[in-house]
Symmetry: C2
Subunit: 573 residues, 2 copies
């Protein structure tokens, strides 16, 4: 800390100098005591100097009885899932009271490797939102798909010198961690002593003990209160997740109590523009928690102090002397309507509007033109060979799939899609310039009647993923993605009905978030109205069909993956 700023801070705290900004008539939320006190908060530079009867400020703002709380913290988020650059993401979440996010650039790292991590750090520099970074621990997610990069501990460790890098992000390789596999041991021991975030869906009992002993500090994959409580009791911080696809928060509320709230926080993991702009962010989670019966002060503790403590951040998470002046004013503690937000002592949002714009000047050379698929030799045909084939069964609003055995519909010796049985052809085409190999299979549950939808967002390797009722539509959609450097497309025959270009790593747009939301809405409308899609969001479903670390049957560029056996399996039984 700069000595001059430090001396100024202390002089304001002593009441001997006017605050740089005095927030008066506040109901100040104290997350240590769980109490609300009326008074003023004196700010000096980027810090809170004091709380109480401070009288003078160079600038004085009357909060008219609003609740003043610490800035909200999202403990685990992939910014890429917002489909916009970090600066646009900040414009979306800061007006909702978020001032710190602990991000994991896992998606872009799977596409662009170290250049992707560097880009996210540079593109989030100087924003009125602190984008902290945990380094992606599992790139690639597994050996069963082709990603754009492979990162080992020696790639990651140099980033620890960056002031916004905390430690290691969600350690998804549970079997590796638990069994002390060499590459897992290497990473986990290299980061020991630094924050290590976990990812342990459904892990319980002795496997959980081994996972915790292996090193992770936290987990955000609980889906039931007893699972969450078991993880808390084992020493993990538990992050209640409310994403666009995975919405676990309300199920977990029975686990929240005065003691466990000190070991729980909130995270979004993946939230799309529509939900960020519509429902909100951590403020939305506060609303849900309080509506579900959680004491508002406990909910706020989780969203601030507990989140900070989970990562050892002692400089924030409370309205208290010497802490960073990241603050949010709420009209009440039930609706949590955000009146204003301050970041490092500066007002950055008011009544839902960001008071900032622009973005850091960053080279995007290494993160553009990342769709390097050669589609000319792509063969989507599937010769009929036997009576039964393995088909992926997808479900609305779930990442998990099941496997079904289905009779093929055959035309001219080739298996084709069958709208009557909601049976679409599915293909995942390698797009990282590594030969454009493709896995082809079938999926039920997307609800398409005709045409095709495709995306370059395909967790976690983010190859091109396309589902359709005919090969021409599928090729049209894929070609649109190849031309636009990635994105989402809807095609019917030779026509591209709608396209959302995501030219940054095939994951993010270079447009404002409102525009991305509109284009996404248009994509959905086209899918629903012109392709007859019945699923609420078939693009979300599509994006997770290649994720070979979530059960049960998935498709990667290498073929069908039986996740339970964790190996490639043939289409035909």
């Amino acid at each position: 800390m700069d000595p001059a700023a430090y001396k100024h801070l202390l002089a304001v705290a002593r009441g001997e100098r006017p605050a740089d900004l005095l927030l008066k008539n506040a109901r100040v939320v104290n997350v240590f005591s769980g109490k609300v006190t009326e008074g003023s908060v004196a700010l000096a530079g980027s810090y809170i100097a004091g709380v109480g009867d401070y009288q003078k400020g160079e600038v004085v703002e009357d909060l008219q009885g609003a609740y003043l709380a610490p800035g909200l913290i999202d403990t685990h988020v992939h910014l890429e899932s917002s489909m916009v650059r970090p600066a646009e993401y900040a414009r979306a979440v800061v007006p909702h009271g978020t001032t710190t996010v602990v991000s994991d650039p896992h998606e872009i790292a799977n596409v662009c490797g170290l250049a992707g991590i560097r880009y996210m750090l540079e593109a989030s520099e100087g924003l009125p939102l602190e984008v902290l970074v945990n380094l992606p621990s599992c790139v690639p997610a597994s050996h069963l798909s082709t990603s754009g990069a492979s990162l080992g501990k020696d790639d990651l460790l140099p980033f620890l010198d960056h002031p916004r890098v905390l430690g290691l992000a969600e350690f998804m390789n549970v079997p590796g961690a638990v069994s002390a596999a060499p590459d897992a041991v290497e990473k986990l021991l290299a980061f020991r002593g630094r924050p290590i975030d976990g990812h342990a869906p459904g892990v319980r009992g002795k496997t959980l003990a081994a996972y915790v002993a292996a090193g992770p500090w936290a987990d955000h994959e609980s889906v039931a209160p007893d699972e969450a409580l078991e993880k808390v009791a084992a020493g993990l911080y538990v992050f209640l997740r409310q994403g666009t696809a995975a919405r676990n928060l309300e199920d977990l509320l029975p686990a929240v109590g005065p003691l466990t709230a000190a070991r729980m926080a909130f995270c979004s993991d993946d939230r799309h523009p529509a939900e960020l702009l519509g429902e909100g962010h951590v403020d939305y989670m506060l609303r849900l928690a309080v509506a579900g019966g959680v004491d508002p002060l406990l909910a706020l503790r989780m969203a601030t102090l507990s989140a900070a403590e989970a990562f050892g951040l002692r400089d924030r998470g409370a309205v208290a002397p010497g802490r960073l002046a990241d603050l949010v004013a709420f009209g009440d503690l039930r609706e949590f309507k955000v009146r204003a937000v301050w970041f490092r002592g500066r007002k950055v949002a008011e009544e839902g509007r960001p008071l900032f714009s622009g973005a850091p000047e960053v080279s995007e050379e290494e993160v553009r033109q990342t769709v390097r698929a050669s589609l000319s030799r792509l063969d989507l045909r599937v010769p009929a060979r036997r009576a039964k084939m393995r088909v992926i069964r997808a479900y609305e609003g779930q990442l998990i799939t099941t496997a079904e055995l289905v009779e093929p519909r055959v035309e001219g010796g080739m298996v084709v899609a069958d709208p009557e049985r909601d049976l679409a052809k599915l293909a995942v085409v390698e797009r990282h310039g590594r030969g454009s190999g493709a896995g082809v299979g079938f999926v039920r549950g997307l609800g398409l009647e005709r045409g095709a939808i495709a995306g370059s967002v395909g967790h976690d390797s983010h190859n091109l993923t396309v589902a359709g009722m005919d090969d021409l539509s599928m090729r049209t959609a894929l070609a649109a993605l190849a031309r636009s450097g990635g994105g989402y497309a809807v095609a019917l025959g030779e026509e591209v009905l709608e396209l959302l270009p995501l030219p940054i790593a095939g994951l993010m747009s270079d447009r404002p978030i409102e525009e991305v939301r509109q284009r996404m809405d248009a994509l959905l409308a086209a899918a629903h109205e012109k392709l007859g899609a019945r699923s609420r969001d078939p693009f979300m479903q599509l994006a997770f069909l290649p994720l070979e670390v979530i059960p049960s049957l998935k498709l990667t560029d290498r073929g069908l993956v039986d996740v339970d056996r964790f190996e490639l399996v043939d289409l035909w039984v």
Copy 2:
């Protein structure tokens, strides 16, 4: 962590290998959830592998339903106050369930400087008690007395490389911190990001805001619940203190609740052999807290997890996978009778008896022969000059004194002691080889009738301090201390009635703690029976009469100190 030990730990956690030690039939205390569960705890090497239904162990111990809790933590202690070496201290506290102490070698540093800190680190190496160290921040305590050393930030920073050094110890220079005095700023900014322990007696309001903003993380000087709650609300961890002299714990219990318990812990600060062996240590504080109405699980959280969190120690403080196997078995959660203690997976105490002995082989050359007072030129005479003199009024069981204006008793032109008014002569003689200057004054409240008592323990500079009813007895006592290299003495005329030698820095004995306790008891008996002393422990009172940072009137080797004005004042008004 050693990879082989790590792999072994995970294998035991998975239940695939027998535990090195299996503690079965335990009621396991979970400080995260505030619940007790029945089951087994599997240990692997120095770590806890898992909690639950583990069945196999190379060694199996049946706890027969005892409560198994994390090892207890003392968050702030001067080991020197136990008057024994660290190894003996461990023998005293480990059987009471303590496995970690955060120590501040402030006393020995005031005598021996860096050599004192080094000695404490070396003498506590390898004990079955982790002696963590915060570095003394205020040596000397002030410029108003002569200490044996003066330590700046550049002296302290190199110690941060030591694995058991955490940060900076109790920052007593409150005015310096609050006003951003140069030497305070230098130290506080140099240690920013590392634990900084505080010391802010009675500091409230804006002064507290400035103090917290200056950097300290914790405080152990609260004496009333509202003071403790104000400090918690300001973001400080609050340590409830129960020392030999300062006994604040019970007064503070009304401040303990489910939320604040996460921000509170226990400390002893200074405890003598009689209290360590008689009352106990942190276990005694648990007894007091629970007797005072605190939920036993909350009390245990404070004594373990909260204490660990206060210093960012994520490797202990809970019975959970991957944490250090520092454990204590209690017969119940009311009396907290300690049945057994394990340190790093090894049983180290049972039924109140330590299962270890011996001490590290450490050179004591630099910490012995530290009483370098030349008494031959010492002049204890006080010529009578005016009608009223400033006299220190001491009180039983308090560190603070008040100032009284008293008529002198004069004989042959010299002021002498006056037993009828409980008025003793008091002298503080510099003993660090810096000229043996002496301050001479008078004190009321020790209750002596004749003779003299003296000690080389005189906070914080630890000069020789003597109080008596005649100069000959005072000289006899001082000479005894000079010969023994420090200690406590009782003298009458030319005879030394009792002597407790403390040859290590004039602060610690080289004998077993039981023997030191017996000698201390003999000293007290001699003072009571042969000098007619009425105060319960006049030696404790004596040791704090030179402490010029505690109000109101004190005596150092430089003379009388008006603590409120923080300057030297004349004996005569």
